[in-house]
Symmetry: C2
Subunit: 422 residues, 2 copies
């Protein structure tokens, strides 16, 4: 990307929001643009980081045999009335609904109903299962308590998966596979994500786990033991005889090691059992010729939240400990290298464009006129590019000063060495 | 993809819709699932073909320097009131609106208003332009005349781009670049797409072109000359002295070569001029220090329609000329090869899985139990896989019968030869 053609001017970042300083940098620098409470546009880099997250999620889910599909976002009320959840959602006031002369619709807050209808058409026999369908798509909520820009908006990107099995043992198996994919995803995006056995909320299943990212901006509180890197749901403390329960269920004899910690819920997995299959009457013919309800599981990843967590985790600070920008992980950054030439030096500029061409779409060149080298370096850190190549007076022709924006480590390298390394 | 884990049973296709036989195959075979008028879910393959189209569009737009972003789909009425288009859209009854205690929103039918607000934050000086922003995202319409499944739905995928320039000459330049990308996209997806100078509709600009795909299911009528592969808008015939106009504007002396032909509108480009910049009061400071309105262009591609056109173009027929399925172009097919082993032959099955592993995610293996080889071959053609590898009794061990599903051409090849070729 040529910055001169990107619509990015010098970015100014001041007086950061005390609660959400990291996301406030994105907002102040114009990488997020707000249109109303909980409604944002994403600039090029933020959007592309999100897309990389989508690709990683897809790759890991495909590896365990999940099948990606696309369910409708605009959903007729009829399917929600079959499951009996329409009135409940309406009462809670959390659904965004659309009235038209052709009927009443909602903007999907989740897709259990839609996927069960999808299965009705397809999974008629035991021969067609097990199968786990998933999609990555925008979800909508009439959110009153919007929070932290990307954390809780009126619209948010979700991966939602749904498994269909013939019995509980099959469901346990499907559940295990998706759980395994979740842990791989966490590893690939470089976040320490802790599974916590959770309460079920309104999904109405039997067993569920939340996947938590420890962060001061999280709106959940968990009981976390740093040493063992394990966590418990605080609801456990409300149980009668919770100490006995902990011993029996988790083998934990001493909970004093666990302390209350803020966390962001990034993922959630549920064993739904036969709830939706029964209420919506979608069944399959088993080997014995009898009609039976599916055992379903449902699995979510908050992709917008994951994006927020990635930025939280990529923060770089100045010498006074003040948040100054980001250094995105190389695997997630859409542009790995930001090339900053001294514009007045024709030879350097020529070499900078050579390097830019060789990076084949994976670099940003800061070819903006009338902006100082210092300001350009600052902007690079606001955009989060992991490496910065400066072609200024300090280095001889054909060489660049390469800086790792995370560690601050600098090296003098030739153009070929830079291309090879990045 | 293992068909045994995909939720795909034997597909039955009968009595095709006379108007839309091609898309009806998708519906009857469960590759599209309908939820209501103009509302569909996409199965794995259809969704992945669509995604490939998105990637091609992005690559070509990026090549000419366009910048991809993501604008909000849920849009507050306030931005539409600034441009004065809210009342107009409401009166026409084509906007899907969402009422909540927090305000009134619409599900974006288009994004001129949203992108102008995006620009307001960013493009403050002549130094920041020219720039062309684009996004690929779902759009919504309270469509009454839904048509042809993917052609005109309540929700549809669009690429929408918006250029910002300081003057008309700049706009012409930006327009030319996007137009060039459009023609490249048409070439890469293998469709003959004809640009037609068009009337402006409700967008309100000065110059516009439509990109048409000749097809009997199209709802537009154009004047088409097969020999020169050029076309004219039929509205020209309504002009007074249209013959003189044609001579002057297009150098056409004889229009008798042009005959009325049905076509699908796949793309549309407009020179908007200063309309939105003026009405929404979003301006930039020019070199002379004066505030000036942007010259804008807007550019759309109907990605769902493009998908429909791809399927129309990929039809294969049986010996009686009856539509029986598809053979997707290799470049667009998510799975290039469908492997069909004789399930009862252990050695063949083993070899089939070897080939499947070597294809590294780019193949489908039809490992479904209890379905005949003949039915599997039929299903392959319904899924649209361009090549089919049969491991049956006809060929010796280690060999496969490879069929090009488009041409019907067959070859006996070794597993290594198949991997290399595809």
């Amino acid at each position: 990307m040529k910055l001169s053609q990107s619509g990015i001017g010098t970015m100014r970042v001041n007086n950061l929001d005390e609660m959400y300083p990291v996301q406030d940098i994105l907002l102040q620098s114009g990488q997020l643009v707000q249109y109303g409470t909980g409604i944002y546009a994403y600039s090029n880099i933020v959007m592309l980081v999100k897309r990389t997250l989508e690709r990683i999620i897809e790759e890991e889910l495909n590896k365990v045999g999940c099948i990606e599909v696309q369910l409708p976002t605009l959903q007729p009320d009829s399917i929600w009335k079959k499951s009996g959840r329409w009135d409940k959602y309406i009462e809670e006031g959390l659904m965004l609904t659309v009235e038209s002369d052709k009927g009443t619709y909602c903007m999907a807050p989740t897709a259990e109903e839609a996927v069960v209808e999808f299965a009705r058409e397809k999974l008629k026999s035991y021969k067609h299962i097990p199968v786990t369908y998933y999609q990555i798509g925008e979800k909508y909520r009439n959110e009153i308590r919007t929070r932290g820009y990307l954390l809780r908006g009126k619209s948010f990107l979700m991966m939602d998966a749904y498994s269909f099995d013939s019995d509980l043992a099959g469901l346990e198996e499907s559940y295990k596979k998706v759980r395994e994919a979740y842990l791989k995803i966490a590893e690939r995006v470089g976040l320490k994500i802790i599974p916590v056995v959770a309460d079920n909320g309104s999904m109405g299943g039997k067993k569920s786990e939340e996947f938590m990212f420890i962060s001061p901006i999280g709106e959940d509180t968990i009981l976390y033991d740093e040493k063992s890197e394990t966590a418990l749901n605080t609801e456990i403390l409300e149980k009668e005889n919770y100490q006995e329960y902990l011993k029996e269920e988790y083998g934990i004899e001493d909970i004093s090691k666990y302390s209350k910690t803020k966390a962001i819920e990034l993922g959630h997995i549920f064993q739904l059992g036969t709830k939706y299959s029964e209420s919506m009457n979608v069944k399959f013919i088993d080997k014995d010729g009898k009609e039976k309800p599916f055992y379903m599981g449902c699995y979510g990843i908050g992709v917008s939240r994951l994006l927020a967590a990635i930025y939280e985790n990529s923060v770089i600070k100045d010498e006074n400990g003040k948040v100054m920008g980001f250094s995105l992980p190389k695997e997630l950054a859409p542009y790995k290298l930001q090339i900053i030439p001294k514009m007045e030096n024709e030879e350097k500029l020529k070499q900078a464009f050579e390097l830019y061409e060789k990076m084949n779409g994976k670099a940003i060149i800061d070819d903006r006129e009338g902006i100082s080298l210092g300001a350009k370096i600052k902007d690079c850190k606001i955009l989060g590019t992991p490496y910065m190549a400066i072609l200024g007076d300090k280095v001889e022709d054909g060489k660049v000063e390469l800086e790792n924006t995370k560690t601050g480590e600098k090296q003098i390298l030739s153009i070929e060495e830079v291309v090879k390394m990045i």
